[in-house]
Symmetry: C2
Subunit: 386 residues, 2 copies
Amino acid sequence: MPDTLPADSVGLVTPQQAHFDEPLALACGKTLPAYDLVYETYGKLNVERNNAVLICHALSGHHHAAGYHSMDERKPGWWDAHIGPGKTIDTNRFFVVSLNNLGGCHGTTGPCSINPDTGRQWGPDFPVMTVGDWVNSQARLADRLGIQRFAAVVGGSLGGMQVMQWSLAYPERIANAVVIAATPRLSAQNIAFNEVARQAIRSDPDFHGGWYAEHGTMPKRGLKLARMVGHITYLSEHSMGAKFGRDLRSDELNFGYDVEFQVESYLRYQGDMFSTAFDANTYLLMTKALDYFDPAAAHGGDLAAALAPANCPFLVMSFSTDWRFAPERSRELVDALVRAGKPVSYAEIESPHGHDAFLLPDVRYQAVFGGFMKRVARDITRAGDK
Amino acid sequence: MPDTLPADSVGLVTPQQAHFDEPLALACGKTLPAYDLVYETYGKLNVERNNAVLICHALSGHHHAAGYHSMDERKPGWWDAHIGPGKTIDTNRFFVVSLNNLGGCHGTTGPCSINPDTGRQWGPDFPVMTVGDWVNSQARLADRLGIQRFAAVVGGSLGGMQVMQWSLAYPERIANAVVIAATPRLSAQNIAFNEVARQAIRSDPDFHGGWYAEHGTMPKRGLKLARMVGHITYLSEHSMGAKFGRDLRSDELNFGYDVEFQVESYLRYQGDMFSTAFDANTYLLMTKALDYFDPAAAHGGDLAAALAPANCPFLVMSFSTDWRFAPERSRELVDALVRAGKPVSYAEIESPHGHDAFLLPDVRYQAVFGGFMKRVARDITRAGDK
């Protein structure tokens, strides 16, 4: 809760909502008849409408990427470290658009919304979404905002997959792609961790096949476990060690199953908080979207062939201790882009913070990312000069 | 189920049971009034009684390390690849003792046994065990078998911790120590994974605070999740990728929550099997023993100082893709042994199989391990010649 807003904050922001009546055909074969997208914008769209930057969120993210909803808000948006006046994504130059994706639980149409066919919540009947579906819906939001072409589409983790998809599905509508701590496809181990999370949620007796809201319950135990597993994979072994080590909660071992080590306490707390704040059906759906993404699959596994339609410069970044989507996975993408003859810059950032590093400030990360975005801004200015 | 027993098998074996009436004082402050240890032996104890090798089991292990209980048994004991006539631990030379540890669920006194004070199963009242408690009970078994000094104590993973403890608690009773794929203490990440497993079990409504047997239930959901998480950490990312990749169960994605990827099917199956075969209270207790082990703690974190009492040659082995107890953790032990002036040989074995590599055959692993054991055998012969 800031007393005054920091000078480099986008300040107080208000989420907006766009309603869409045109049905959206989905990869799963179903059609979403109508939907709402909740989004925020920071900065101003210029007259040429060519300075827009789209932010794509990750697994548990949402539209509130920067600034504060009120002076009472304890923490700013999830990527506030990188979005604001003079920051990496400079809102003095860019018009930033950040939305909550379909299937989310922060205002955009999702499992908690009302299914017009039944008058009940969608719940588990909400269609499984893919990264491709999201990008199609984002393109419609761009249409609504009068943005023909984004100066850049930017995202970390699952957000980075959306950036890749933009470059393939709408190559003429994306001028630059920034893919951070992502992967062109999940490994078997990644899918395995997601499956543990799903089993934890789905086997919780309070899940009721996804109809927990109608039963007046929430699968909190399952969602807590899912978050605990996820959280371990977001941190590096090093950062967990540095933060908690083998520190005990009290002076002595209690030789029982109450919290003994600080790391247990931290994980339980994180899990508890998440289990009451996030929707379980949304969590399931987001993990599935991660699992499914695999643009190379339609090209016999040849990622370079899959990337052929891409038509913009890429910045790819990874973090040295990220073992969820390790640097090797980013290098796979970079190698394929090079093989496909696409312009790509790559930086592996030394960081102790594991996958979560993409959310945090870091001198070299900001220098590389900020340098790229400055060039994007210069290209806009030059286009305006012509 | 073998038609005939392989020539290098120890053959048909029968578990034995030793009853102990002397109370065992435990690290937690409680005392176990009496207990049974179930064990197997392979090979013959020589007249000098100096050719005994003790096998210490890991988290979900037990006494049945080699051979077959019957001709109908589908698979031999869990370390049959390494124990038998002419094998790494050569039963033509050694008298091998393998027991189920206290708190186990394979016949040794544990949570499923009757608490003499109440006439009910111990259940969650069974005391939390430590590696030190186990080693004390193993020393009593050695007394019972007339073994003053083991030619070698050998173990992988949690078993390797027991070997370290033997070298510190009973330095005069262990002639050689073989520590495989272990660590002198768990990292915060290791503890975190154990805590997820415990939370999964303890939050299962069928757990009933550990009194599930009295409620006629089993916390199968929780134990299944615990095993799924554990299983991911036993395999390397590479081996999961090589075994399953992104292979689908059927031809197409089903865009739902049934099994889609082969790796999901495998994990669910492993979890289901384990959840009906293993006791949940035992699983909890074993993970706690792992968390607690930390000989350096009593020496201000100085592992070399903690190792001062050790008085035997060590063989330490690790596996290149083991990320549960990575080679770095073995090197910590090796470095401390060197600093403490103890004789130690170390080999890091290249293997794609992650932590599970310690259970599998491998040319270099067997060459190093077997070479060390041949020297142990020669020392016994020489002692006999004197």
